[in-house]
């Protein structure tokens, strides 16, 4: 099966029902995308499929074949960080950081469709779990990223 991840094509030999998450982590070897629950509850595994956020633990790899997949490793353009990543650094958002790949991917997808989200928009769109509880900084950083060009 062919997968296009972060602009690179990968041939993977896996059962088509394997969750995209585990193919990304184990076959492709990109471990920035995290496992938190495996049942689409926590968002730690969020990646973009054709620009839309998906919880990759609950997407069979067969459904991702032919799609353009972006993981946290592919969010920056070269050495230039994505504005969400920049805002995350400016606002010192991560605590343990384990949820943050998924959080950042969810936020980047939100800003693409809704460049200036209100607090209510954020509440509706960002449903990732963060056990460390970084939500205050997450919200600040989203607004800052939205202001950044």
């Amino acid at each position: 099966m062919r997968l296009t991840i972060n602009g690179k094509s990968h041939e993977v030999d896996v059962d088509p029902t394997t969750p995209l998450l585990w193919v990304i982590r184990e076959q492709v070897g990109l471990t920035g995308t995290k496992y938190g629950c495996g049942v689409a509850q926590c968002g730690a595994c969020t990646v973009h499929m054709n620009g839309l956020p998906v919880r990759s633990c609950s997407v069979p790899v067969s459904a991702a074949s032919g799609a353009k997949i972006t993981t946290i490793e592919g969010l920056a353009s070269g050495k230039t960080l994505h504005k969400v990543q920049k805002a995350w650094i400016d606002h010192d958002v991560p605590q343990c950081g384990y949820c943050q790949s998924g959080m950042i991917m969810a936020v980047a997808a939100l800003l693409r469709t809704n460049p200036k989200p209100s607090d209510a928009d954020i509440d509706a769109a960002i449903t990732n779990i963060c056990r460390c509880g970084t939500f205050v900084q997450v919200r600040e950083a989203i607004h800052a990223a939205a202001k950044a060009a």
């Binding site: 184990e26 384990y98 954020i122």
Partner: protein, 731 residues
């Protein structure tokens, strides 16, 4: 060397593998003085906490675990402060427990719990930084043949004041490393701090926003296999049998192994394959003696303890409670309860181990490197110089990744032992993580208070009944206390870092210990979570019975507790307690003394339809004595409320047929951003000789403040956690 994954910046000393024994021997340079120990890159170690590269980079050593709480940044600030080094050129190195053991525990305690990371090591790490600065300055002075007292250091540069000559730490580090460490090492007055005490950014953020930070679950070693494991779902049960042949032919499966008495693991090329096969494997369990245990039975057991004759006394500050209660003008009585809760760290438990008959190493997340080291030692059957542990960034800890008997580290060693020479990464599924937590202990509490005719609290009996963590985890402590678990009384104890912050003329706080088969653990805040709910909600009940304002009622009992009074007054003032709340808004407050910090919270909530709670705002005050990084403290306070309010509203692990019923976040919810209140942190360190903790204390004040506000909003006293059991939602 190939076995060292690239995330280990433990260039530290000569690699243990190369030395064959993990011994940091140091390189003797006779005849010029004592041995110089070098980092692997050749940089000389000045003190165990500091090595300096020729380019002036400062290598700061850290052995406490980083799980998001910011401890490593805080400790580095303290060392850098005393060292007067360039903060922008600080790199962290992590000595391993094996290296520490080989150097007679040169780095002291690795354990990171009890909010001790900074407060318990602050003095010796600061001295390590200060001593290094003195040695570097002395080395420069020796070179210039001037008195050291004429030289000053700042930003890794040493200046000879009279002549204006300058040199850098990097240039004199070699000479400094050969000097004797000074014995008398004065520390700076915190009032003069320039690096410590400042709201600096964390040192470990970059890798957390681009996916490069390595957590245990991400460890990759050459030739590594993966394991999925299942332990008997009934605590105390064992494996009876399993048929490995059943899954032997499945894709990627290499081996099916028993893990100790109670577990089975499938080892495969990928974790997904291992997990898929494990799910297909039928395992016959000998479920042992606990298959009938249920939450209802456990509740009955605890209930009986509420009136039991025997109980351990935690606080009996004079008086005769029974007599005083009997003679009270008014008696108030209430029973509260607190459930089992899982830590649910974002990153499930895992560990990677490579075992050979000659050497065993573990790479993985632990809150206690030395504790994990001891477990690897025991499970591997190898001597201490053939074992090591490489800690990594933890995807949350909250007490779960401390050292517990027969836990994940031991499992990983037992699995790897059955694949000699092959590294095996064991990962728990979320379901396994939910089924085999080290749970927040269950507790019930009966409180009886007596008021005199003018509404003064004259007597209080607080009877705890429930599980002891220490009895399960550190039985020697309980034995030494003649059966008492002193930790059960956190926040209400007779003395010390968790002492009670009220003066009641006739007081008895005691604990009927009722242990169950469910393994308990230290859950962020530990026993302050329930104790704060019990005492602080009951204080509101008493105030109401006395016809007094909740704040005024408390204040009268706090004259001898000025620091608690300080934080309580601070939140009351900020929330505007003396003025009426806006329409539809209801307030509550609470405070406690714990982990040597003084903490209080006041909140504003609204309640729709009688059950939809919105927490609008929490004002939190903390007096930890000293504040090493105010920005990180703010984050810990707000984060603790997410953890604590998730527990208050959503979280309970129930027991049925001897096992935990909840399997994943759909039954064990956690707060989302939409439910996050505004948090205003008042940081009011008042100094003194004792440093307080940060990561845990404030967690306990949010729940009682919200419960007290809920009562004002609805007239309903909620006396058992979680609120979802009462049909109450957080919106």
């Amino acid at each position: 060397m190939t076995a060292i994954p690239k995330f280990t910046r433990r260039s530290f000393l000569v690699s243990s593998a190369a030395l064959g024994g993990g011994l940091a021997l140091g390189l003797r340079l006779p005849p010029f003085g004592p041995a110089v120990v070098r980092a692997a890159d050749g940089s000389p170690e000045i003190t165990v906490w500091v090595a300096i590269r020729p380019d002036n980079t400062t290598l700061i050593r850290a052995v406490r675990a980083e799980m998001g709480q910011g401890t490593i940044t805080g400790l580095a600030q303290l060392i850098a402060e005393e060292l007067d080094c360039d903060w922008n050129k600080v790199v962290i190195e992590y000595p391993t427990p094996g290296q520490s053991v080989a150097r007679k525990r040169a780095w002291g305690d690795f354990s990171t719990g009890g909010s001790r990371g900074v407060r318990a090591s602050n003095e010796y790490v600061r001295k390590g930084g200060a001593a290094a600065r003195m040695m570097l300055v002395q080395a420069a002075a020796n070179e210039w043949k001037v008195p050291a007292s004429e030289c000053v250091a700042a930003n890794s540069v040493i200046t000879h004041k009279p002549s204006g000559r300058k040199t850098t730490y990097g240039k004199v580090a070699e000479a400094a490393a050969r000097l004797e460490q000074p014995k008398d090492v004065p520390l700076k007055d915190p009032k003069t701090w320039k690096i410590a005490g400042k709201p600096l950014k964390r040192l470990d953020t970059a890798g957390k926003v681009n996916g490069t930070m390595m957590y245990g679950i991400d460890v990759k070693l050459p030739g590594m296999l993966n394991a999925a494991v299942k332990d008997c779902p009934v605590f105390g049960g064992k494996v009876k049998s399993f048929d490995a042949a059943q899954v032997a032919g499945m894709t990627g499966v290499k081996k099916v192994v028993q893990v100790g008495d109670s577990g089975v693991a499938v080892i495969a090329d990928s974790w997904w394959h291992a997990k898929t096969a494990l799910e297909q494997l039928s395992i016959v369990w000998d479920e042992g003696p606990n298959t009938k245990a249920s939450s209802a039975d456990i509740a009955e057991l605890l209930k009986a303890g509420l009136d039991a004759d025997q109980a351990f006394v935690g606080n009996q500050a004079g008086g005769d409670v029974k007599a005083a209660l009997a003679g009270a003008a008014k008696k108030v009585e209430a029973v509260y309860s607190y459930p089992y809760q899982n830590h649910a760290c974002m990153e499930p438990m895992n560990a990677t181990v490579r075992w050979t008959p000659e050497r065993c190493e573990m790479w993985g997340p632990t809150q206690n490197g030395e504790g994990a080291f001891a477990q690897v030692l025991e499970a591997s059957g190898l001597p201490a110089d053939k074992v090591d542990v490489h800690n990594v960034m933890l995807g949350g800890g909250f007490g779960r990744r401390g050292t517990y008997p027969n836990d994940y580290v031991t499992q990983a060693v037992l699995i790897a032992k059955q694949m000699p020479g092959t590294p095996v990464k064991m990962i728990w599924s979320r379901e396994e993580d939910m089924a085999h937590g080290r749970y927040h202990p269950v507790m019930q509490c009966k409180l009886v208070g007596g008021l005199d005719a003018s509404g003064n609290l004259t007597a209080l009996h607080m009877r705890l009944s429930g599980q002891s963590i220490l009895a399960a985890v550190r039985p020697e402590v309980v034995q030494a206390q003649k059966g008492r678990d002193p930790l059960s009384f956190q926040g209400v104890f007779e003395s010390g870092e968790h002492s009670f912050s009220y003066t009641v003329p006739n007081l008895l706080i005691d604990h009927a210990m009722r242990n169950t088969h469910v393994p308990p653990g230290f859950w962020r805040g530990v026993n302050i979570n329930q104790n704060a709910v019990f005492i602080e909600c009951f204080m509101d009940e008493l105030a109401e019975a006395a016809g007094q304002d909740a704040l005024e009622f408390r204040r009268k009992l706090m004259a001898k507790h000025p620091r608690n009074l300080g934080v309580l007054n601070a939140v009351a003032e900020r929330i505007g307690w003396s003025k009426p709340a806006p329409a539809g808004i209801h307030r509550g407050l609470a405070h406690l003394h714990c982990f040597d910090s003084f903490v209080a919270a006041a909140c504003e909530i609204s309640v729709k339809d009688g059950n939809k709670v919105r927490v609008h705002r929490i004002v939190a005050a903390t007096d930890p004595g000293y504040a090493v990084n105010p920005a990180q403290i703010e984050r810990q306070v707000a984060g603790s409320f997410v953890y604590g309010l998730s527990a208050l509203f959503f979280q309970e692990c129930t027991v049925k047929d001897g096992r935990i019923e909840q399997t994943n976040f759909h039954q064990y919810n956690s707060m989302r951003i939409a439910q996050m209140p505004k948090v205003e942190t008042i940081l009011m360190p008042t100094g003194g000789t004792v440093w307080g903790g940060i990561g845990e204390p404030t967690i306990c004040v949010a729940a009682p403040a919200v419960l007290n506000a809920f009562y004002r909003a609805t007239g309903k006293r909620i006396r058992s956690v979680p609120m979802k059991n009462h049909g109450i939602e957080l919106v």
